[in-house]
């Protein structure tokens, strides 16, 4: 039984789970049954993908099933690229299921979640497995549909409905764009198989057009600015483990789509496309994380930070594109590795963060940072896992986020050898954008963790919280461990990615596992190297050393006392720094530029009894500059055309009459 067949049978099993869920959804046993089923299946699929990735077959033949497009059939194929993304998807799926085992108990409408959860997994798996345009798009849109249903799970909330609507419309916009792209690739006689597309020769014009359509289609799914507006609405609206899947995994499926088309199907696109990808990526990273820094809704903040990470990934892809175009396989491999590594890492810590947010949500019923606080005392394990994720996502050593970010920077440092001046000048600037986004990310997650978990509880809800259930904790703990492992042993991951880079850019990074001390060296040791393991050990060692020395030779006495706070009396929880106030300096620096943020404070004169007022005005320029006008235009046209509904019969007749006369005129003039 080939691995493709195994994968497909996993998918079939998931489909069976969907059907089962549809029937037993309302029973009490449904939640554990469904989640444990999907956990098991995802685990199998994950291991299959891992095996396939570690020992890639020389050639990966396509498996053809008599479904989908007649006369073509549904093609499925499992090459290293697909294998890697299957690993990501199913790992995320497995963790989400594990988490769901506990989280699902708090779900008040399980029958609106259970059937669609496995369906969502099915969609994502199929997208990656499919090897022809029809199957790809069908699974793609099916994925959107399932996730839409999950977003609508809590449909009584008007905000969720709106989110779902915007989401599904954007999704179908993306699908149509992809549809056009594939139509171009397939050519007039409809060669929809990927193999045929690969074989075909595409004109530069076609390639460019396909590229643009791809960025519109897959980019909107991935959440690239300016097509990101749906993402921060839809991801938080779903139940948290689904949010984790959408943010941590589904966006990666979109990335997969981009890679598949851009690096595999169209051959080599023009160099300017790499320029576009780089610019969009950098802009996305910065804009996304700035949004996140301003956001006070915990889950939405996470969604925005997803946008940032996607931006980082796309910078990596853009670099890979540029290097591949310039024929620098090594550098291209480095960049591509960095991008894929970032994909993997982000799926780890973003899932973890959403799990944490979900735990907080179930325990306190609050998503608003301003209403949380002091949870580290009540939910220590959750807090610890969340902290790990925060450090990792802020790209700080020795965790995994830093490793991938470091690789991206190393790739940027290869840019001087690029032939195009525009790129050589621009790439370091993009690097600056990345650095900025990383630094802002640190600020953003200090804020998130500090406000939500540290300090003193502000509301009863956060004061009365208790630790999450064991399934959730297990999922979070394992993920935290993975974040650390990937951070201190990046070499293994890099080597595992080599078949993928070989496939995509025709080169690979130097073998890492036989570098002494398990360091990673992108190009050569003389240029740069990094060793997460030693960093970790050193930090641990020196911390332990200093602690023991001090405790041994200096005082170890400890006294608990009331908060000092510069001797300021009567501290209470409401005097703490809030999320809004934490973001205020950054808002002043960046916000005025990026969000046209304005704040007005009118302080009453001393002794006056009127309250002091603080008003904050905040604009999402993309939303106001792009989405609202489009919606407005459609509404306007609809309104105008709507008058045609209320004409008199005579007027309708005159329409018919005019049509007739017009056609006759055409005929009279036609020769």
């Amino acid at each position: 039984m080939t691995s493709v067949a195994l994968m497909l049978s996993c998918v079939a099993a998931l489909l069976a789970t969907v059907v089962l869920a549809a029937f037993i959804a309302r029973s009490r046993l449904a939640t554990p049954a469904i989640y444990s089923l999907s956990l098991g299946i995802s685990a199998i699929a994950f291991s299959t993908g891992l095996v396939q990735l570690s020992s890639p077959a020389a050639d990966s033949p396509a498996l053809v099933l008599p479904f989908g497009l007649p006369w073509l059939g549904a093609h499925f194929r499992l090459d290293p690229l697909a294998a890697f993304f299957l690993v990501v998807v199913n790992l995320g799926g497995a963790f989400a299921s594990l988490y769901g085992l506990g989280y699902g108990r708090h779900e008040h409408a399980p029958h609106r979640v259970l059937p669609f959860f496995p369906a969502f997994l099915v969609g994502m798996n199929l997208v990656i497995l499919s090897d022809d345009a029809f199957t790809f798009l069908l699974s793609w849109e099916f994925m959107s549909l399932a996730s839409w249903a999950l977003v609508m799970a809590h449909h009584r909330d008007a905000g969720n409905r709106r989110a779902g609507y915007i989401y599904i419309v954007m999704a179908s916009f993306g699908t149509l764009a992809l549809l056009l792209a594939f139509g171009l690739l397939a050519g007039p006689d409809g060669a929809y198989g990927f193999a045929a597309m690969r074989a075909a020769q595409h004109t530069p014009f076609t390639t460019g057009l396909v590229f643009v359509l791809l960025m519109l289609g897959a980019g909107s799914k991935a959440g690239l600015v300016p097509l990101h507006v749906w993402l921060p609405l839809a991801h938080p609206a779903a139940p948290s483990h689904v949010s984790a899947l959408m943010s941590g995994v589904m966006t990666k499926v979109a990335v997969y789509g981009v890679i598949r088309v851009l690096f595999d199907l169209v051959g080599t696109p023009a160099w300017w496309s790499s320029l576009v990808v780089l610019l969009i990526g950098g802009g996305t990273a910065v804009l996304g994380i700035l949004h996140a820094l301003m956001e006070r809704d915990l889950k939405r903040m996470l969604a925005y930070s997803t946008i940032e990470n996607i931006g980082v990934v796309f910078v990596g892809l853009g670099l890979a594109l540029a290097f591949k175009d310039a024929g620098m396989e090594l550098a291209a491999a480095l960049a591509m590795t960095a991008a894929l590594f970032q994909v993997l890492n982000h799926s780890f810590f973003k899932s973890l963060l959403f799990f944490g947010a979900g735990a907080v949500l179930t325990q306190t019923g609050e998503r608003d940072l301003e209403k949380l606080g002091g949870l580290i005392h009540r939910m220590p394990v959750t807090a610890f896992a969340f902290l790990v994720a925060c450090v990792a996502i802020s790209a700080l050593p020795p965790f995994n986020g830093f490793a991938s970010e470091w690789l991206v920077f190393q790739a940027i440092l290869q840019s001087p050898d690029l032939p195009q001046w525009a790129l050589t000048i621009l790439v370091p600037a993009v690097g600056g954008l990345l650095a900025l986004s990383a630094a802002v990310a640190a600020a953003c997650f200090v804020r998130a963790f500090g406000i939500a978990f540290l300090g003193q509880p502000i509301t009863e809800a956060s004061a009365g919280a208790s630790e999450a259930d064991r399934f959730s904790l297990a999922a979070m703990a394992i993920l935290a461990a993975l974040c650390l492992l990937a951070g201190i042993l990046p070499g293994i991951v890099i080597d595992a990615l080599s078949p993928v880079t070989k496939l995509l850019v025709g080169g690979r990074m130097p073998v890492q596992t036989d570098v002494p001390w398990l360091s990673i060296v992108p190009v050569a040791e003389s240029r740069s190297s990094y060793n997460g393991l030693l960093v970790f050990l050193f930090i641990g060692f020196s911390a332990w050393l200093s602690a023991t020395v001090i405790h041994r030779f200096a005082s170890r006495a400890l006294r608990r006392a009331p908060v000092w706070d510069c001797g300021f009396p009567g501290i209470d929880a409401t005097m703490q720094y809030t999320a809004g106030s934490f973001a205020q300096p950054a808002r002043r620096v960046f916000g005025t530029l990026v969000f046209r943020a304005r704040e007005r404070v009118d302080m009453p004169p001393p002794g006056a009894l009127i309250p002091a007022r603080f008003e904050l005005e905040f604009h999402d320029l993309v939303w106001e500059g792009l989405c609202l006008p489009v919606a407005g235009a459609v509404g306007f046209v609809a309104e105008k055309l709507n008058h045609l509904q209320f004409l008199t019969i005579r007027r309708y007749l005159s329409l018919v009459f005019l049509a007739l006369v017009l056609l006759l005129l055409v005929l009279a003039l036609w020769s």
């Binding site: 606080g373 002091g374 005392h377 902290l387 450090v391 790209a395 050593p397 470091w406 190393q410 440092l413 000048i425 370091p428 600037a429 690097g431 600056g432 650095a435 900025l436 990383a438 630094a439 802002v440 640190a442 600020a443 200090v446 804020r447 500090g450 540290l454 300090g455 360091s519 003389s526 240029r527 740069s528 190297s529 990094y530 060793n531 030693l534 960093v535 050193f538 930090i539 020196s542 911390a543 200093s546 602690a547 001090i550 200096a554 005082s555 006495a557 400890l558 006294r559 608990r560 006392a561 908060v563 706070d565 510069c566 501290i571 005097m575 703490q576 720094y577 300096p585 950054a586 002043r588």
Partner: protein, 318 residues
Amino acid sequence: MVLIHHLLVQIVQMALVVALAPLLTGFVRKVKARLLRRRGASVLQPYRDLTRLLRKEAVVAENASWLFRVAPYLIFAATWVAAAVIPTFATGLIFSWTVDLIAIIGLLGSARFFLALAGMDVGTSFGGIGASREMLIATLAEPAMLLIIFSLALIAGSTQLSTIAAFMTYPQVGLRVSLAVALIAIIMVAIAENARIPIDNPATHLELTMVHEAMVLEYSGRHLAMIELAAMLKLLLYLSMIVCIFVPWNLKGPDAGYAAYFTGFASYLVKLIVGGAMLALFETATAKMRVFRVPQFLGAALMLGLLATLLRFVSRSF
């Protein structure tokens, strides 16, 4: 044998930075006092402060979490590891390959991350102020620093401090506009990162102006000692980074003899003294700026960093 020798050098380096850090701070303070026509405390005063703090019992707020108590050690450890691989008197330390310049910035970032969290742990307004401002400064200082690193690495073709230092000793490097710009930028960043005037005043406890001090307000005893030491280490780190990049002369290779190491160490001391003196001079010459002018200051550093990366094209390359 060689390995032992290398390890020895490395250990000496680690001990050295810890030993020298308070001295540097004390020296700077002393010079500043002198410049202000004060006699000032002895150069060794920082050592005394640290030991005093270490002996005292640590007072911890009631609602402080474990993070509050762990953070100081983590901060110190991260800074120490970063400082341990800076070529002070010798390049090519055995563990210098574990972290390159970017990683060093990363380590300092982690230290700052935990410092800010520690500041917010107790839940006081001052802690929040400090953390928020610190992170804001970082959001501008870090990218600036990375751009500077880019401009250096793009010229030297490496992000390894040792390699860069070795590269800078080549005669054909000569004087480059980009390097000059980078130097200015890195100094500005260093000032911001180390909470020196005009960004922050290490000596003040005036609530509205303090940044670093606000975060550590709740700390006392050994915890405070750790944090202070970490801060001193950081100052030393930046100073020695700057000197090892821009005045890389008389750095000894990994396999040099002890005599050579001694001369190298002597020249390193000289560099530190000069650098410290210049810092003190600069600090006394300028006034602290309002917190909301800091972004402009750092924005300038950022622009300079970018400029440096661009200017490398106009310089001759080889």
